[in-house]
Amino acid sequence: MTITKIITNDIAVITLQGRFDSAAADQFRKAVQHDFLPAHYVIEMEGVNYIDSGGLGCLVSLLRQAQKRSGTVKIARIPSKIFYAFELTRMNRIFDMYDDTGMAVNSFTATN
């Protein structure tokens, strides 16, 4: 899985590409550990072609970390091919989802 990060104004935009499965879970956990931990995260998932319970568990773990800093995690550009896993686990009710990454980022500034 390819992971890129941009952190601006206490918001991290993390772009994922590839398979977000249990084999990629450690890579994701290491990638979101920073010296400076932002409060909010936007996970851009357009390039993700598979997610399993290991990948979903990573997102829940990140959400819990963010909530400890009064932050949250939002999902942007989720492809229909992986939405099924979110539905099966009802994660689509836990995470706010946006069609556009900019809208997801702006939603934080609108509420701050």
Partner: protein, 144 residues
Amino acid sequence: MQNLKLTLEPTLQQARAAAMVASSIARAYYCIATGNTCPPVSRFVQAVELSVGEACTNSIQHRPKKKRGNVLLTFEFDQDSFYIKIRDRNEQLDFDNTPAPDLNRIQERGYGLHIIKTAMDDASYERVDGWNILSLRKSCPMEV
């Protein structure tokens, strides 16, 4: 009945490979069973790929440290259904009594069996001669 067998070494990379192979076989079965080209996004294929991935990942993550046995997969199909068996020599699994996750609360783990039981049309477990055997069935896809 046609069948295909696959042997996995107990690594998460191999579980990933098994899910990808399952996806390809399910896609081929879709074409054979329906006479139609499989759409790029197919719930049938997603269900098979996810279930095989979860089952193999569970098998690998829950194996005893001193046991390095392989995971065996069998794919079979007929006109009505696509069948998968996943075998390992791990400790016995309490398949029917493993609690379902509380979907109204957020939790990081414990979704694997729930995904398998929900995505497949049938999922059953038996213990035979020291082998755990997980049998999965998905009906022939009706989506076009």
